[in-house]
């Protein structure tokens, strides 16, 4: 009974993707304290081992190996980024330890035959793209320009946008990219405007998310701006100032807790996470921290039911249905993500706040 349950976490706590990893680290540390204060899991203490991948593949491989081989954890949460998750897959697969990635790219869990040990918490990029396309279709927008950063996240978004737009019969009239460090997208936006786009979709990470609205405003291009789920941090909207007003984007419900009706099944957990996190860290919650929250809760639930045997945890997860911060997960053998587009809510910025989009 005094044996502790060991869970490994690998997040991009420092480096270029630290905006993902830091809230994730904070979240799991908060939960660990909570659980242990409440007596642990079936009396077993929960012990987290947290590694920093620095968002770097080599470091991620080492970190995962360290967790698996040195700390002998039963399950791994993370990594934060798609690339580092991909690099980690062979390691955990060989070691037969389940991994709950906190990234979003679909290739992390597909093809499912080769990803038996991998689960994913981030909502699918394709679903985010679908959500955006739904919205555009509803507003009669049929020609769009897309603007993506050349990061793993941006590139995955670009792939999905192109695929999904075709499904919806939406034409991409301009397809522009920029590198992650870029700080001025006016050239790309002019190309998009000149191509006759009726809306812009920007799919990227910081700081471009805040700069694109500013550039749009500067150029007086009066077409709607859609952003990816990556925009879901109120700080980005604040950084863009008035320019961010009216930006439309899909996001997990954690970004709009106050607008979710009490009857919604996620309401309770959303509220718990938000108030918990914000009171401990005096900072806004983000969807990314939410991925880690769901992952650890899932792991705890599995351990409660089947103990800390990795294989059993994997089998348990494959049959689980779980209502989390990110949505309602319905895992199956072939679907290790378990979320669909209903996990998203379309939000917009109004008076410097995120609100659910209402026409």
């Amino acid at each position: 009974k005094d044996r502790e349950y060991r869970v490994g976490c690998a997040f991009a706590i420092t480096g270029k993707a630290s905006w993902l990893g830091e809230p994730q680290r904070n979240t799991v540390e908060m939960l660990e304290k909570e659980i242990n204060a409440a007596g642990g899991i079936n009396g077993h203490r929960l012990k987290l081992f947290i590694e920093d991948t620095q968002g770097n593949n080599t470091r991620a491989v080492n970190a995962i190996k360290k967790l698996v081989k040195k700390h002998r954890v039963s399950v791994i949460i993370g990594p934060s980024r798609s690339g580092t998750s991909m690099a980690a897959i062979p390691v955990v697969t060989k070691a037969k330890v389940p991994m709950l990635s906190c990234a979003a790219a679909e290739s992390i869990t597909q093809p499912w035959e080769k990803r038996r040990w991998i689960f994913k918490m981030g909502q699918n990029d394709s679903d985010a793209a679908r959500k955006i396309c739904d919205h555009m279709t509803a507003h009669g927008i049929r020609e769009i320009g897309i603007l993506t950063g050349t990061t793993g996240f941006g590139a995955a978004g670009r792939t999905q946008l192109k695929k999904i737009a075709k499904e919806y019969g939406i034409t991409i009239v301009a397809d522009e990219t920029y590198s992650p460090g870029d700080t001025d997208m006016t050239a790309q936006l002019i190309s998009i405007r000149n191509a006759g786009a009726k809306a812009v979709v920007n799919w990227s990470i910081v700081p471009a998310q805040s700069i694109v609205p500013q550039n749009l405003r500067q150029l007086k291009i009066g077409i709607p701006l859609y952003q990816s789920s990556g925009f879901a941090n109120i700080k980005y909207a604040q950084a863009a100032g008035v320019a961010a007003e009216g930006t439309i984007f899909p996001a997990g419900r954690i970004m709009a807790v106050d607008f979710i009706p009490d009857t919604h099944p996620q309401k309770a957990i959303l509220k718990k996470y938000k108030t918990g996190y914000e009171s401990v860290y005096k900072d806004h919650v983000s969807t990314f921290g939410g991925h880690a929250y769901d992952a650890l809760l899932l792991v705890i639930e599995a351990m409660k039911k089947v103990g800390d045997d990795p294989a059993k945890i994997r089998d348990f997860l494959e049959t689980t249905e779980f209502t989390g911060v990110d949505g309602i997960f319905r895992f199956s053998e072939k679907d290790h993500c378990g979320l669909d587009k209903t996990a998203f809510e379309m939000l917009t910025v109004k008076d410097g706040k995120f609100v659910v989009y209402r026409k």
């Binding site: 770097n56 593949n57 080492n62 190996k65 991909m86 690099a87 897959i89 060989k94 050349t150 793993g152």
Partner: protein
């Protein structure tokens, strides 16, 4: 000097053979694999920097080209991994020649910038040519290397293999250094005019050593791809080129062993730091991963400030210190008497 080098090589081989007796954990073996790969690339770079006195800030591009050639040929075209690796080397040789001929006419910082620019271009192409390289999403499921039915798919096997390759690489590099050609290279560093005056074709030598270094990098990249079995453009950006230059300089430029030691240190250091929080926790001090960068920078700075000749030289001086002190004392008494 010559003898010492080859003794060192034998000692290294023995050490490698014995390591798995001490270390069985795949985690540590994995770190050592990456260490070997970095050492291999840096060995090539040190031939260029330490011996020919030229700088290349684009070495990661050659590592990347090797890795991508291996990955693309094996995954997309189903080539045998060995053949793909060879193709990588050939491709890199050709590209290095092509870029080396105009670049190596440049000197100092200008050469640095040209190679850096080349490195960035390769990186940008690997990001933007999504059809070929998968772009930022990378290429996964790269098959492992193998000998017949023995696949190099465990950490232990790859550990032996990668270090064997490194030792072979070092052996070849040492042969080169202690040869007529090697002296030619070093003379280019000392004085190009004097080298030319005794018949050394300095331009050709610089290009040769540049391509040799690139080939080392390419092999290192191919091995990386097959070991990790996933690559994306991340590990091949210009900062990694800068890191490699740093590794060579930290170890001590004027000797391949310096490159090996520097590469080893800077490969292991981040891993050691990642455990720092555990030690600090142990002695009851709150520690944040964020401090890693400060400690890393501090260590690097201290080495450069306090060990002017690099780590290798520092170690050597430490070993020779007692002898020198004795000499000094003797000199002192001789003076008075």
């Amino acid at each position: 000097m010559v003898k010492k080098d080859y003794f060192g090589l034998c000692a290294l081989a023995l050490g490698v053979a014995g390591t798995p007796l001490l270390i069985q954990n795949d985690y540590y073996l994995g770190i050592l694999v990456f260490t070997a790969l970095n050492c291999l690339a840096c060995t090539g770079l040190s031939l260029l920097m330490g011996y020919a006195g030229q700088i290349s800030m684009g070495n990661a591009a050659f590592v990347g080209l090797g890795a991508y050639t291996s990955a693309i040929l094996t995954v997309r075209l189903g080539w045998n991994p060995w053949l793909a690796m060879l193709a990588g080397v050939l491709l890199v040789l050709a590209i290095a020649m092509l870029i080396g001929i105009p670049s190596l006419r440049l000197k100092g910082h200008y050469l640095g910038m040209a190679t850096l620019g080349f490195g960035s271009i390769v990186h940008i192409v690997s990001v933007a040519a999504t059809g070929l390289t998968g772009g930022p999403e990378g290429i996964n499921d790269i098959p492992p290397l193998g000998f017949g039915s023995i696949l190099l798919d465990s950490d232990l096997r790859f550990f032996y293999f990668s270090w064997a390759v490194l030792i072979l690489g070092l052996f070849l590099a040492l042969n080169l250094i202690h040869s007529r050609i090697g002296r030619g290279l070093r003379s280019v560093h000392g004085s190009e005019d004097a080298a030319e005056s005794v018949g050394v074709d300095t331009a050709a030598y610089k290009i040769r050593v540049f391509t040799i270094g690139a080939a080392y990098a390419s092999v290192s990249g191919s091995l990386y791809a097959s070991y990790v079995s996933y690559i994306d453009p991340g590990p091949f950006d210009v900062m990694h080129s800068v890191l490699m230059v740093t590794m060579v300089a930290v170890g001590g430029m004027h000797n391949v062993w310096g490159a090996v030691i520097g590469a080893a240190l800077l490969s292991v250091l981040p891993e050691a730091l990642s455990s720092a929080s555990e030690y600090f926790e142990f002695i009851g001090v709150a520690y944040d991963t964020d401090y890693d960068m400060l400690i890393y920078g501090g260590i690097l700075l201290s080495i450069m400030l306090f060990l002017p000749g690099g780590l290798l030289d520092g170690l050597a001086r430490l070993i020779r210190l007692p002898g020198k002190l004795a000499l000094r004392l003797k000199g002192g008494t001789g003076q008075n008497g």
